[in-house]
Structures are given as structure tokens and as C-alpha cells.
């Protein structure tokens, strides 16, 4: 029974290089035209594209049907504003430190504080595309559910964590937070209150390397939160 049901012993596929990624960029450009704002192919690693917000849905369709990315990986968002609270290492009794609050986007650039981020992969060609789009001030994007059905829950998560609305989404209820929760926890200006009431003991985290003597380094401060499960 085992051998009849098992898959064929296909050899390990020869991983295609960056030619596929370059081709994907060309396909997207001919499909979307001006709406493809920027692209980046890192040789041997990965590729990124950025599209205009109004072309988000068309970009998804192009990825699925033209580039051939059949597998939906994830969808999320990024808040590019640096956190006004830093990494939570401030002394709460002191006045807040001055921080550089200039917004600087990552790969393939951007103009807005919030960016949508999604990834889809190809099962047969063994490569994936990370796609980004700037989100305007109305914080509304078209939904990807008609493109990839799996985007449903990811959009619900992005909605409650970042406050992004997805036009056409049937059911933007909260997944994690109680109904009526105020604020969007994954935004950088949402404070992590646990850090504010009690300073974190693990700010200095130096662990001796194997073979090195454990000298004055504070090696016992790496314990995480209490054990779950």
C-alpha cells in the first residue's frame, strides 16, 4: 500500500536562478505599466516589488495569473514610523528622550507611513515575490480575497493591528482583541505598557561564546517570560 500511494521519487529540483525573478519583473511591468513603482531583485535571494495602492488588486491578479504564483504565503503591514518610546529601555521617571522620528522606508522605497506587505510563491518554480504598496491617509485598500481566498484572515489581522480598512472584505471583525478595543496595537505609537511600568532587565545582553570563559558578562539576564503551555 505504501508504495502505491507514495509520490514519485523526483530528484531534487535544480533551483532556478534570478532569471525567473527578472522575468517576473518584466511581466509585472507589461501588465501594470505605470502602476509598478519600483522593483528590486537581490541575486540569489529574493525579490521585492512596489505597486500603486489603486493597482493592489490588479497586481495580485497579475502575480497569480501572469507570473504564476499559485501559493499564497502571507499578508501584513508595516508601520515605518520609528517608535516614540524607543525599545522600551527608558527610565519611566525621567522625561522622555529625544528621538529621531524621520520615517525611512526599506527596500523598494515608499512615501507613506504605512505600507501593505504580502507574499506569494510558486510551487513549481520555487520562488516567491514580496509585494508592497503605500497606504494613503484614508487607510483603505482593496481586498485580496477574490485573488487569494487565504487573504481573508490576514486582512482581518492587519485591520485590527494596524487599522487598515479593506474595501470589499465581508467580515472585518476582530480576531484577537475584544470587540470595542481602542487603538491599534502594532502601530509604533501604541505603547507597550508592560515595558513602561517595569524596566526590562535584559537590556544588557552579553553572553559568553562557547569556549570563552564566563567572566563579568551578565549571562543570566536572558530569561524570557514565564513558561507557557
Amino acid at each position: 500500500m505504501v508504495n502505491q500511494l507514495s509520490s514519485t521519487d523526483t530528484p531534487i529540483a535544480e533551483l532556478p536562478g534570478d532569471a525567473l525573478r527578472e522575468r517576473a519583473v518584466d511581466q509585472l511591468r507589461s501588465e501594470l505599466g505605470e502602476a509598478l513603482l519600483d522593483s528590486l531583485v537581490k541575486p540569489g535571494d529574493d525579490m521585492w516589488v512596489r505597486v500603486r495602492a489603486d493597482a493592489w488588486r490588479e497586481a495580485g491578479v497579475a502575480l497569480r495569473d501572469v507570473v504564476g504564483l499559485d501559493y499564497f504565503c502571507f499578508l501584513s503591514a508595516i508601520d515605518w514610523m520609528p517608535s516614540p518610546y524607543g525599545r522600551g529601555e527608558d527610565d519611566p521617571t525621567q522625561p522622555q528622550a529625544e528621538r529621531d522620528m524621520t520615517i525611512k522606508q526599506g527596500y523598494v522605497g515608499g512615501d507613506t507611513r504605512f505600507q501593505l506587505l504580502a507574499r506569494a510563491c510558486s510551487i513549481s518554480m520555487h520562488f516567491g515575490v514580496t509585494i508592497k504598496a503605500d497606504i494613503g491617509d484614508d487607510m483603505t485598500m482593496p481586498t485580496w480575497i477574490p485573488v487569494y481566498a487565504g487573504a481573508n484572515w490576514h486582512e482581518r489581522e492587519a485591520h485590527e493591528m494596524f487599522g487598515i480598512n479593506f474595501a470589499g472584505h465581508p467580515d472585518l471583525r476582530n480576531m484577537y482583541l475584544p470587540t470595542g478595543f481602542e487603538g491599534y496595537p502594532m502601530r509604533k505609537d501604541f505603547p507597550l505598557l508592560a515595558r513602561m511600568v517595569k524596566p526590562w532587565p535584559g537590556i544588557v545582553d552579553v553572553e559568553p561564546l562557547p569556549g570563552e570563559p564566563a567572566d563579568d558578562a551578565a549571562s543570566d539576564t536572558t530569561s524570557g517570560e514565564g513558561g507557557e503551555s
Binding site: 500511494l5 507514495s6 509520490s7 499564497f72 481566498a149 507597550l192 536572558t222
Partner: protein
């Protein structure tokens, strides 16, 4: 209570009878069944709200979030080496496997690679956590269907694997053993021989489960042809791991991507099944457990000598950039999208966990199934609550 006259009483009875006839002729009154949050079939605290028509589910909605711990937010206030202690707790049955993609993403950004011996031991521990995780699934599967014996065998034999993980890392559930640039330590003396003997035991366990459970007529009739996921739907929802391979998609990130791990050094089989039903998903996991024991043995045979840690600075600052790394975890594709701004800690980490996508198909999948099958379908999808909620 008001007294009704004869006439009113008669008309009341007549209207009741008419209602009843309508119900018989058209449909029965719907009922909402709430499974969970505390239910053995939910492996934690997942709540499934089903609307029933008779014995059939017409609408189902999983309600997650009872265990949301906000790890994506917490990573933003930790340093890179500290994040592993958090992500350990995402899929707590296969903890070590959660650390690996994050560490690999950080290493990719820093442009360093772990020494070959560290990569090998990482892969061995990765496969051991797969065995520990999936063997519990195989035992638990029996419980969902009313067979009690397999779960005792699973707990018995998983203990050997946990002892191995403890022997190497010091932690049974949360090893926190992976470091940027390698591993905390080498494996102890005698560990390799011990591992070989345990792998034999685990293969015996797989054979026992196959005899007891997979050959069982009741098991087959409860799972065959139930909860069928076609290939294209599985891909659309981003199902991964055994759930995807059970729908006939030959996709395994251990084989299908270039990654700084030792899977490309050995030969192993990617199991698929064409049916896409509950049986196929369970069967794939059984074969993968057995395959994982073979992978561990092959890796032990080719274990290179050398250091287990690359040269990394004592205080780790990760250069600016973005990286996506995902691996084939026990539950499916687990990946981290790490954005660094050249600081001690990550700027943003998007955790793509397998169960989140795997369980998002439930509203689609449960439509039209019978109530007892809800339990088997959920069991065969195999999710860990921490992996859904993060």
C-alpha cells in the same frame, strides 16, 4: 396564565400544527453548536461556532485569539538573540524548529553562515522536534476517534525524543539553543549513539501506530473521503506542510529552496498523497515521522567535525535590510519577515505561522459536513493554538 376559550385554543393548536408541518416540509429549525474554547478536540483554546441543520454543519467559524501573546510587538523591544526565547513558544511541541528560521533570517542580514557542523546539528535537532511534535499528533489522533491506546504509546515514545533534546540543549520544551552564527554548544558525548537507538524505537512506534490505527476499519471509515481539500483550494488558502502534500502538491521547503541547512546533503523522500482527505493528511504525517527518523540517521552518518559557532561580535548589531526566511516546520511553512534598521533589535518581525493559514480554511471546509466529522477534520488539519495566535 390566561385561560383561552375553545375557539382560541383550537386556532392555537391549528397554527402550531401548521408550523410543525411547515418545519417538516421545508427545514428543521437551525441550531448553533459551540465547540470549545475548552474542548479536547481543539488542542488548547480554539472555539468553533457551528450552525447546524440537523446533523449537518451549514456554517462554521473558528474563533481564535484566546492565546494571543503579541509576539510581533514584543520582538520590537528585544535584541536579536533574545527573540529566540519568544518564538520558542509559538509551536510549543516543536520549539526548536521555530528558532531556526528567525536565526537564519538574522544570519542572512548579517551575511554570516553557521559552520557545517552547526548546520548539521541544527538540522538534526529540527528533525527531532518534528518527530516529537508529530508523534504526539499520531497518538492524539486515536483519542479523537475514541481509541485510547495510541496516545499512551505516543507519550511514552515522545519522551525518548524529548530526553535527546534535553540532553543536547538542556531544555525539553523550550531549548533556546540556536544562536546567531551557530549553536550554543556541541552535542554531549554518547548522544549520537543514543540518538541512533532512539530512532529505531521511533520507527517501531510508527509501525505500531500504522498497525493499530491506520489499518483499523473504523479509523478508515471515519477519515476516508471526509474533509477533502482540492489542490487549488489548498494553494489559495496557503495551506502548507502535510496538509498541502496530502492534496497532491509536491512541495517541501526542505528540498525546494536554497537554505543554510543540511537537508541538501542527504537524500530523502517527500511524501504526497493524491486524495486530500483526512486519511491522507494523517497518513502523510505518519510517513514523515518515519522519514524524519531516517533523515536523522543519515545526518548522523555524515556529521562533519569542526566548530559549532562562527565568529560573531559579542554585541550583535544586525545591518539594515529586510529578509524573509521560511522552513518546513512540523506544522507547515513557518517564516519570518525581519526588518532591521541596524539596531540591536529588529524593527519589525512578521511571523508567518503555519497553523494560521491551515486553520483559515475551516469555514470553507466544514460547510456541509456532519457533526462527528468536525472533530476528525480538525484533528487531521493539526494545529497548535500558539501557532495560530502567536
Amino acid at each position: 396564565m390566561t385561560m383561552l376559550g375553545d375557539r382560541e385554543r383550537l386556532s392555537y393548536i391549528a397554527s402550531q400544527a401548521a408550523d410543525a408541518r411547515l418545519n417538516v416540509e421545508l427545514e428543521t429549525e437551525g441550531m448553533t453548536l459551540n465547540i470549545g474554547p475548552q474542548h479536547p478536540a481543539t488542542h488548547g483554546t480554539l472555539r468553533i461556532i457551528c450552525r447546524l441543520d440537523g446533523e449537518q454543519v451549514v456554517w462554521a467559524e473558528p474563533s481564535a485569539g484566546y492565546m494571543h501573546r503579541g509576539y510581533e510587538k514584543l520582538t520590537e523591544v528585544r535584541t536579536f538573540p533574545q527573540v529566540t526565547s519568544l518564538v520558542n513558544r509559538i509551536d510549543w511541541l516543536g520549539s526548536f524548529a521555530n528558532e531556526v528560521p528567525f536565526i537564519l533570517a538574522a544570519e542572512k542580514l548579517m551575511d554570516i553562515e553557521a559552520p557545517p557542523r552547526a548546520q548539521h546539528i541544527r538540522t538534526i535537532l529540527f528533525e527531532l522536534s518534528r518527530i516529537a511534535n508529530v508523534s504526539l499528533f499520531l497518538g492524539d489522533l486515536g483519542v479523537q476517534l475514541g481509541a485510547i491506546t495510541p496516545v499512551f504509546m505516543a507519550f511514552r515514545d515522545r519522551e525518548y525524543v524529548l530526553n535527546l533534546i534535553e540532553g543536547a540543549t538542556g531544555g525539553r520544551f523550550h531549548p533556546n539553543f540556536d544562536r546567531i552564527g551557530g549553536l550554543k554548544d556541541d552535542v554531549p558525548k554518547g548522544w549520537i549513539d543514543e540518538t541512533r537507538s532512539v530512532m529505531k524505537k521511533l520507527r517501531t512506534f510508527c509501525d505500531e501506530i500504522e498497525d493499530l490505527l491506520f489499518g483499523n476499519e473504523i479509523f478508515q471509515s471515519r477519515t476516508r473521503g471526509i474533509g477533502v481539500i482540492p489542490k487549488d483550494v489548498a494553494l489559495q488558502y496557503g495551506l502548507s506542510g502535510a496538509n498541502l502534500r496530502a492534496s497532491g502538491v509536491e512541495y517541501d521547503l526542505r528540498r525546494d529552496q536554497k537554505i543554510a541547512m543540511a537537508w541538501d546533503k542527504i537524500d530523502f523522500k517527500v511524501w504526497t498523497h493524491p486524495d486530500g482527505d483526512s486519511f491522507a493528511r494523517c497518513w502523510i504525517r505518519l510517513q514523515e515521522t518515519r522519514e524524519a527518523t531516517l533523515i536523522v540517521e543519515k545526518l548522523l552518518d555524515t556529521l562533519p567535525a569542526g566548530p559549532v559557532m562562527a565568529k560573531v561580535p559579542r554585541i550583535i548589531k544586525v545591518p539594515e535590510g529586510e529578509a524573509w526566511v521560511s522552513t518546513e516546520n512540523p506544522l507547515g511553512e513557518m517564516g519570518y519577515y525581519v526588518i532591521s534598521k541596524g539596531d540591536l533589535g529588529p524593527f519589525r518581525v512578521k511571523i508567518r505561522s503555519a497553523s494560521f493559514n491551515n486553520i483559515s480554511i475551516v469555514p470553507w471546509l466544514l460547510r456541509g459536513v456532519y457533526v462527528p466529522d468536525v472533530i476528525t477534520i480538525l484533528a487531521s488539519l493539526y494545529f497548535i493554538l500558539g501557532d495560530i495566535d502567536r
